[in-house]
Structures are given as C-alpha cells and as structure tokens.
C-alpha cells in the first residue's frame, strides 16, 4: 500500500503565510488612514485608490515581463502596502500623475528590477517618495491644514477632490495659496529661517503641547497601529525603539543645549513621519538589517539621520532619506552583527 512521502518537518504553523503578514500591516494602517481622512478630507482615499491600482498593474506587468507566476504574487499584499505608504507621504490633493508615477517607479524599479519580493535592498515606498520629492518639489509642498480649531480649513467635497486630483487643477474659485498650509515641520523650519526662536515658531494656534495640532492625532493613530503590530508579533521592538530612542536622545540633547534653536523630543516624535517610519517604514523586513543587534544599529541610524536632516539638512522631514541611507548600510551592519552561534566562542 504505497503512501505519499514528504520531507520533515511534516507540519507547519497553521494559517501562516506572507499574505497574512502583509494583511495585518494593512489593518494596522487603518487608524492612520481614518484619522487622516477625518482631518484632511477624502483626498487620501482617492490617492490610495490610484496607488493601489497602479501598484497591482505594475506588479502584474513586472511579473509578466520577468516570466514569473503572476497569481501567487499579485495579491500577496506587499504591493498594496507600498501603495498605501506612498499615498500617506503625499499631500491629499496631489495630482494623479504624481502618485501613479511614484508608485510605478517604486514597484517596477525599486522592487522588481532588483528581483521582486524579498530581493529589494531599498524600501520601495521610500524610493518612490524620494524620486517624487526631488523631481516635483512644488507639488509635494501643497499640504492642507487639518480640520481642527485654529486652522483656516477649506473643506472640499468629494467631487471637488476628485476633479482636483484627476485634472491637477483646483476648482476655479480656489487657489493653492489660499487652501494650503505648511506642515508643522515646515512651519518650524520657515520660522527658524526667518529668525524666530523655537518658542516663537511654536506659538500660535497651529501648535499644541505636543506637536502640530491635528497632525499629532495622526501620529498617535499610527502609534496605536504600531503597538498592535508589536502585540501580534508581526514586527519586533528593536527597530521602533532604536529609531524613536535615537530621535529622543538627539532632540533632548540639542534642545537642552539651545532650546531656542532646537525643537524638543515631543515635537520631533509626534511630527512628520517619525511614528509611521518607526513602525511601518523602517520595519520593512526585506530592506532592514537581519539580526536583532543589527536592527538596533539600523534603527538608531535612521533616527539620527532623520534628526540631522530635519535640523540641518535641506528638507523638512528626513525619514525617507534616512531610511534609504541606512538601507545602503545594511550589508555592512549585517556583516558585523552576526549573532553568536551555540557552541561557538564568538
């Protein structure tokens, strides 16, 4: 009576798959998206839709060109995560060609050119964002004010949002200058450039005790999602703790030395993409360091680089470039942080 044979182990963890891991990351992003839409209107949802469609189409195209099976990879969720993260990085009213070109670049060049799932040395979403930031700086500065007290918020209807995004032009009665507002990081940066101290730049209805009013809620929602990811063990604590710890240390030290010129840790931790970066972007396992010790070094490096770029660099937020820089350093980090094997001295 012949039986089928298999290689040991004959069991695997139940309900365990790449798609499940990716799905959980997407669930964890829901609070962030929800708060964002509440504060800034439905633009983000349109961006996500455009990005998702582009991502899936680009993925299918790339798999077909590379002669790979399309079905298992198309809906494994990794392309969708890239799409959502990139959409979160762009202003909600950005023209359609911005998100489409960025996503296409991320999927086709940053991911599939290097070998597809599991092979990209750089975080695809950050590559896409960096390309857009460098190529189209003007469009990327058109952030909106959040819908909270103290801001001059011009709500756009869904129809107006759609036409703005799909045509690249605002409705006739509005102008970009009127409806846009700098992000807290941009505001602080401009203020410092104009000679204000940090305290003066922080005054005004735009800021609360933490960071930018309204913006801090997005970061807190991201924190909630990130903590949930930690709880279900989809990500490990090393990168978020190292990255946020590094930002905390840098900003604490610098603001203690000169509070007038440098923002404090609470502001840095709740502004920009600090928390999104710590829990969702830097933790991308494919482009991150391998061992736990390596992850600590990697996370810390991102934190330091983020702070440096924010404070002395040419951009208001440094997370994207920090992540890309540390992606470059990963092989070096890995080489020096191989964990000790049982029975070996070192």
């Amino acid at each position: 009576m012949p039986f089928a044979t298999s290689a040991a182990p004959h069991v695997v963890a139940p309900r365990n798959s790449v798609a499940r891991v990716m799905r959980q990351v997407l669930y964890a992003l829901v609070p962030t998206v929800a708060v964002h839409v509440y504060l800034f209107g439905p633009g983000l949802l349109v961006q996500i839709a455009l990005a998702a469609i582009t991502a899936i189409a680009a993925e299918a195209l790339a798999l077909w060109l590379r002669d790979r099976p399309v079905k298992p990879f198309l809906f494994d969720g990794s392309a969708l995560i890239t799409a959502v993260l990139l959409a979160l990085c762009l202003p909600p009213l950005a023209p359609w060609w911005l998100i489409v070109s960025g996503t296409a670049f991320a999927i086709l060049l940053a991911k599939h050119l290097f070998g597809g799932l599991g092979a990209n040395p750089f975080n695809p979403a950050m590559v896409g964002y960096a390309v857009l930031l460098v190529s189209f700086p003007v469009q990327l500065l058109r952030w909106l004010p959040p819908d909270v007290q103290g801001f001059d918020h011009t709500p756009l209807s869904l129809a107006q949002t759609l036409t703005t995004i799909l045509t690249g032009e605002l409705p006739a009665e509005l102008s970009w200058d009127a409806i846009t507002s700098p992000t807290p990081l941009e505001a602080v940066r401009t203020g410092l450039a104009m000679g204000l101290t940090m305290g003066e730049a922080h005054a005004g209805a735009m800021f609360s005790h933490f960071g930018g009013r309204g913006w801090e809620w997005i970061n807190l929602a991201t924190l909630a999602g990130g903590l949930w990811l930690l709880a279900v063990r989809v990500i490990k604590w090393h990168i978020p703790v190292a990255m946020l710890g590094a930002i905390l240390v840098c900003s604490s030290v610098m603001s203690a030395l000169d509070p007038g010129a440098y923002a404090g840790p609470l502001f840095h931790l709740t502004s920009g993409a600090s928390l999104l970066g710590a829990f969702f972007i830097a933790t991308d396992p494919i482009s991150a360091a391998t061992s736990d010790r390596g992850k600590l070094v990697y996370g810390a490096g991102i934190g330091v680089a983020t702070y440096v770029i924010r404070t002395w660099g040419g951009y208001p937020d440094g997370v994207a470039f920090a992540v890309l820089l540390m992606n470059l350093a990963v092989p070096l980090i890995d080489r020096y942080t191989i964990p000790r094997i049982y029975g070996h001295a070192r």
């Binding site: 009576m1 012949p2 039986f3 089928a4 044979t5 298999s6 290689a7 040991a8 182990p9 004959h10 069991v11 695997v12 963890a13 139940p14 309900r15 365990n16 798959s17 790449v18 499940r20 891991v21 298992p72 990879f73 494994d76 990794s78 597809g116 799932l117 599991g118 092979a119 279900v232 063990r233 989809v234 490990k236 396992p285 494919i286 991150a288 391998t290 061992s291 890995d334 191989i338 964990p339 000790r340 094997i341 049982y342 029975g343 070996h344």
Partner: protein, 485 residues
Amino acid sequence: MAVKIGTRGGLRLEAHKERSTRQNLRAASQPPIVVLPLDQHTGLPAIAIVKAGDRVLRGQPIAQPSGSLSAWLHSPVSGHVKAIEPRPAPHHLGSPTISVVIENDGRDEPFDFPARATFEELPPEELCEHIGRGGIVGLGGAVFPTAPKLWSGMQAHGPHLILNGVECEPYISCDDMLMRERASDVVFGARVLLHALSTKSCIIAVEDDMPLALEAMRRAVAEAGDSRVRAQAVPGIYPAGGEKQLISTLLGVEVPFDGLPADVGVLCHNVATAAAIAHWIRDGRPLISRIITVTGDGVREPANLDVLLGTSFASVIADCGGYTERMERLIMGGSMMGLALPHDELPVVKATNCIVAASRLDLEPRAAEMPCIRCGLCADACPAFLLPQQIHLHVQSGDLAGMARYGLLDCIECGCCDYVCPSQIPLVERFREAKPLHAATLAERNDAALARLRFEARAERLERLESERRAALARKRQELTGKRP
C-alpha cells in the same frame, strides 16, 4: 502569530500525546518473521555470526560488532535463520541493506546467558564491555552504540550523567509511558551507568507537561534511595530534548561546536537506553524489543506497544486496529523530524521510537513556496541561535563559505525554522541537501591540497637528484681532466 516562540529559540507545540497514552503498555503480537538489518546502529554494520539454516534462540547473539564503533545484534525470537540477504529498511529507503531474516517457530525458547556477578562488583571497563554485549545502543533515535560512548565518557573523569526523558517532539510518547510504568528500570539503569562512569551525579530530566511520568520517576528515585540520582522537570519547549539544548538548560554550559558533551564533562543517555541496560544487566535480556508509540488520526486505536525488533510496521499497525480511511502518510518518528515511509512492509529497528499514521488532521499541508521576506521568525525560533534566512540565501547561491559562516554545520535539523516560515520555504530539506555538498567540497579541497604537496615534494626531489647528479658528474670530469697529463 499563533506560534509561541521560546525566549532562546524553540517552539511551544501541541503535544498530541493524549490519545496514545490512555491505555497501559502492552506487548505487540509475535510476528511470524523478523527482519533484522545489520546496520541498525550508528557506525559500522555488525557482522553476522549465524548463517542461513541455523537454529537460533530468543536473545541469542546473531551478529557481532565489526569495529570499535559497532554493536551486537540479538535474535528477538526463537526459530530458524531463513536468509541473510538485502532487505528494505526504514533508514535505507534508497537501497536494501543486508538483514538477517528469522522465521519465528513460536516456541519462544530463551538463550541462556551465563550468570553475571552484580554490576557493582565489576570494574567499570568490564561493565562497559558487558553493556555493549547486550546490543545496547542509544534509543533516543541516534542509535549510537552505548559502549563506545561510555568509553569516551570515562575519559572525562566523573562526568555529569543526564538521562534524557524530555520527549519534546509531538506525537512521541514512548518515553512517557516507559517512565510511568517502568520508572524503576530507568533508575536501575541510572545506577549501572553511574558505576560504569565512576561518577556521582545523575539528573533524570522529564518535560514539565508529562506530570504522570515525572511523578512516577520521582517516586522510583525515592524508593531506590540513591542520593546520586534525582529527577528534574524541564520546560516543555521543542526541542528541549535535543542533547545540546538539554545540557544548556540543566547545567548552563554549551557544548563546543567542534566537541562532544564529554568535553564539558557531561554524558547524555536516553531513559529508554537506561531501561534497556537494566533489562540486560539485571534480567539477562539483551536489546531485542523496544517501546513504540503508534498514533495519529490514521490508526484506529493509538497505543504504546512493546514491539520485538524486526516486526513489520504493518503488523504493528494491525495490532492497533489497522488504518482508518483518513490515513495518508506513514511517518517513523515525530511530526517535526520523522521520516515519511513509502509503505509499511518495513521492519521495526532499534531507532523506531514512534509510528505516526497521519491524516490530514495531523499534517498541515505546506502551501506554495514564496521568496524569503526576511521576516526573521526563523532566527527567533532557532535553538542553535542561527540565522536560517542567511543560510538559505547562501544555499540558494551555492556560496559554501557563506553557508558555513552562518552555521549550516551547526544546524540540528529540528525543523523550528521551517515551522514558522510564512513563505513556507522547506528550509530543513535545503540544509540537509547542502550539508553533504559542503562536506564533499571541503573534502575535495583537502585532497587537492595534499596532492599538491606531494607533487611539489616530488618535483623538489627530482630536482635535487638532478643537481646531485650534475655535481657528481662535474666532480668526475674534474678528476679525469686533473689526472690527464
């Protein structure tokens, strides 16, 4: 993740031992024919000392060790040697192996072993040799001949003795039942080993999710009244029963990668081995049977049976009510490291500790393999502290130096990394393929280096001879021309 990973690697797995431990141990039925491969132990195959047509008795030696790393083999039944010929065996699925085939005459006549003095009166070396004569090998699965292992242990001068009752792999419960019902045998075996090794410390390790076994062991130890022996519970994380992991857990030392437990003053034996030693030393019964767990959703009445070596798997399954309709896969061993067998007309050997007749309920089918997403769960689960994803990367690219650097040769093939991988990569299978390739390449390089040394030495020798010849010739010419007027 539903999977719970231990703090230093390892997994908390469901034990699946409940069904097979409901009933007491019982003997399997006497088989009409037994097939005994001569190489059912680590090391060199034994050499048959009987021939076709001979009459043998139960317990009679039928094969002797062929070298220092080999073992005795005894007949489990009385009857006639039908043939000595190649037969398929579970550890030789590729090619049949020379086996002694004995036809059981049903009379169960025992072989008379000469009476032995009590073991305490024997000097350790003699006791060691006597243990070997019982055909005793490690019954935890490695079937390492016990006598040579004890020899190396004796060089360690009073090592810690650990009896491994940590049955961490799911489905296997033979040691559990052994300890519940024959704990005194284990303790007796412990005392024999303590004398053989001239040592004073023996820890019997039992998994903490085997409370009945632990209790029975503790009672037996108390009854024996030997203060050198004690039972200790160990957390039930797979693979806590792995020799290196157990030594770390109990004694806090690590076995060096290029050494053996004896190098750190430890010797590890399975509890079943200790019980087998007891049966041989105390009762004069050599290793001719062992306890086997028969379990899985594919068999009707899971149980633990005392099975004579050489019985066919089919017969053992029949003893347990036969297969159910859901039967799909026959596995010798447990679900994590067991060997899947193509059919059941194979003999039980000394290494057979468990037969899992698995159905879809027991097995989790592996989904299609995806690329590694570098999630790192494998590294978290690895009890040897390796980075399986890096080994996998280097195996894929054929980088032998890289494989070794990340610990391919330190992999104990426990299957933890495989189990947790979201991409369903068959890591253990890849590593098992890569190890011989690595060894062969190393061997090739060694050979080339040696050949080169010989070549260069020869070239040097020839050159030296040539220059000596030329020098002699020159001297000769000198003499001749000098002589001419």
